[in-house]
Amino acid sequence: MSLFGEVPQATPVAVFKVTNDFKEDPNPKKVNLGVGAYRTDEGQPWVLPVVKKVEKIIVADDSLNHEYLPILGLPEFRSSASKIALGEDSPAIQENRVGAVQCLGGTGALKIGAEFLRRWYNGNNNTRTPVYVSAPTWENHNAVFVNAGFEDVRPYKYWDAEKRGLDLSGFLGDLERRKLFVFFDSAYQGFASGCLDKDAWAVRYFITQGFEMFCAQSFSKNFGLYNERVGNLTIVARDPDNLKRVLSQMEKIVRVTWSNPPSQGARLVAVTLNNPELFSEWKDNVKTMADRVLSMRASLRAKLEALETPGTWDHITQQIGMFSFTGLNPNQVEYLIKEKSIYLMASGRINMCGLTTKNIDYVAESIHESVVNVQ
């Protein structure tokens, strides 16, 4: 008799299953438009040139070792990462009311933030506090907050399926007249428009409006450091005293989760952000990635319009960042996967980075076929 005889087989996490199925597909024309990682025009992962440079610097530095970081992480990483989000001249930073926790990727930052909120927001351990997430949202948002103990994770209107764009009135309607704590998820700063400041506009605007907030930052995409798990939970508080107490409680949460964060990735980012030349080179690398995505967007839209694929396709260029919600329905998605070996999420989400100048014709033609042949 096993103690674990009753443990059921869990369904696999969807996005990783897509990549798995892609890997096992023998079709030479296969295309992976699933998981959100940048690819070059050769369809290859890209280690940023600035990262390679900094890695060499680190390897050559004999004074570095593998000692534990402090619980809240590498200080020069935390402060420089927060500056990236809030701006070098942020008054909140100057007022000493900004702090940060180095975390394992964006997921880790969301996790620590969620755990803190469940313990300390809106009373103590008030698990009934509603958590509003956009409809749709990254599928792991739900799990992060539920696992942190929140019982009521609700959607707010966001995506307009007909317009294939933002449902602004729905959005405002769902959130009006409510006293809300703001938790920003910033996984793509720099990656969206190619400009760090532009992509941080919303976060910085909210600060000028006087909000206390959390901002979960990921450096997975904009630094290409996916597997090093580099994230930062930036905390903007009313004043230094509140900040101090919040950070002390953050330490307790970190200690029972992972004790202290991994050093390699944070070091890479800190060295880069704190050196003007390297920082400048990094911004160029980010722009390279963003520009390629923008050109794939333009190209895909143009080809679909040239094919006269039924429907409108301007959402492809109006949407921003790594992903596009194509508007394809589940049957059309299934067609693409099964008949064309083009892998995407059931929601119709594609990763623009999976497109290259070599496969874009095949993808455009296949999308055309699926829209024409499959209802």
Partner: protein, 419 residues
């Protein structure tokens, strides 16, 4: 006039008053273990000694990066690997090697595929995943029995995961050794299906380990009581200097039919502290059960950090899977363990030289990085205040912080507060 207008502007856009969401958040107490290092850093006494956190130091008191680690890093750098996400369960090459290291190459468990081993965020991360797994799936019993004392972070980890903490006798303050009978008595009363935490070797904080014959009796009793065994092995290789010897209890229990949970850390034995390298293993009934358990571990991991960090696991895997690096590693672990053993002997010799008449044999008998000196809190406080020797209040010292350069001064201090 201008300031007045400015204040009006601010109060309109802020919530009703200048209050914060966090006014009720209390100041958290400093972490007892990591807080010691922070206090040490602030001390300006040139003779200060940090015997707080368990990180190895060489005889110059410096952090030690293993040579096999540097070589592995160079090998990895030459391969120009990408930085794509690892699987949720981590690096496959690491997981396999991690299990083999603990269980032995030829272990029947590995051969039959009835273990699931996932990469975790060092030992803490491993214990946390284990605690979460128990909380969700081990619904027949909510209690985890820890030895008294245990690593300070065990309790908050299990408690935060929703388990209840209980204790069994372990350390005998009269002998500064193992209270074997006390342990057996307590274990014999633990309700069936409860979880019992065992330190595989180099018990933290006491350094007191059961002897093999004692482990055998414990294993039998635990089986009779039908308890779920959770081994914490943070010091394999570090205790005796021998990898297999330090894993003996883990392997024995498995041989005896215990399907254990196991946490491993490579922080100390590979010096990979800040890289956060660890493993969590569940020994299951069969390969089919292992698959089910694996799927559930992934569901637990994803909403915490999605997937683990690559760097340290890659280093560890390279060492474990490359014969000459592995051999070199065994030698270096042996070297670290030996230096600790030498410091133990030196400390006792120096205490005697100072004129101490107390029995310090336990300093030599205890194993691993830590020594439970037997010092009382007031004595510890004096040692810190008067001699700038930093250690935890329970009298635990990290032998790794002792060097041939400071052992004399340390003996002076200890003798001074205990005579």
């Amino acid at each position: 006039m201008n300031i007045y207008r400015l204040c009006l502007g601010i109060s309109i856009s802020l919530p009703a008053c200048f209050s914060s969401w966090w006014s009720e958040v209390q100041m958290g107490p400093p972490d007892p273990i990591l807080g010691v290092s922070e206090a040490y850093k602030r001390d300006t006494n040139p003779k200060k000694i940090n015997l707080g956190v368990g990180a190895y130091r060489d005889d110059q008191g410096k952090p030690f990066v293993l040579s096999c680690v540097r070589k592995a890093e160079a090998q990895i750098a030459a391969k120009k690997l990408d930085k794509e996400y690892l699987a949720i369960g981590g690096l496959g090459d690491f997981n396999k090697a991690c299990a083999k290291l603990a269980l032995g190459d030829d272990n029947e468990v590995i051969k039959s595929g009835r273990n699931i081993t996932v990469q975790t965020i060092s030992g803490t991360g491993s214990l946390r995943i284990g605690a979460n797994f128990l909380s969700r799936f081990h619904t027949e019993a909510r209690e985890v029995y820890l030895p008294t004392p245990s690593w300070g972070n065990h309790t908050p980890i299990f408690r935060d995961a929703g388990m209840q903490l209980k204790a069994y006798t372990y350390y005998d303050p009269k002998t500064c050794g193992f209270d074997f009978q006390g342990a057996l008595n307590d274990i014999s009363k633990i309700p069936a299906k409860s979880v019992i935490m065992l330190h595989a070797c180099a018990h933290n904080p006491t350094g007191v380990d059961p002897r093999p014959e004692q482990w055998k009796e414990i294993a039998e009793l635990v089986k009779k009581r039908n308890l779920l065994v959770f081994f914490d092995m943070a010091y394999q290789g570090f205790a005796s200097g021998d990898i297999d010897r330090d894993a003996w209890a883990v392997r024995y229990f498995i041989e005896q039919g215990h399907n254990i949970l196991l946490s491993q850390s490579f922080a100390k034995n590979m010096g990979l502290y800040g890289e956060r390298v660890g493993g969590f293993t569940v020994v299951c009934k069969d390969a089919e059960e292992a698959k089910r358990v694996e799927s559930q571990l992934k569901i637990l991991i994803r909403p915490i950090y999605s997937n683990p960090p690559m760097n340290g696991a890659r280093i560890a895997a390279t060492i474990l899977n490359t014969p000459d690096l592995y051999k070199e590693w065994l030698g270096e672990v042996h070297g670290m363990a030996n230096r600790i053993i030498t410091m133990r002997e030196l400390l006792v010799a120096n205490l005697k030289k100072e004129g101490s008449t107390k029995n310090w044999q336990h300093v030599i008998d205890q194993i691993g990085m830590f020594c439970f000196t037997g010092l009382k809190p007031e004595q510890v406080e004096r040692l810190t205040k008067e001699f700038s020797v930093y250690m935890t209040k329970d009298g635990r010292i990290s032998m790794a912080g002792v060097t041939s350069g400071n052992v004399g001064y340390l003996a002076q201090g200890i003798h001074s507060v205990t005579k």
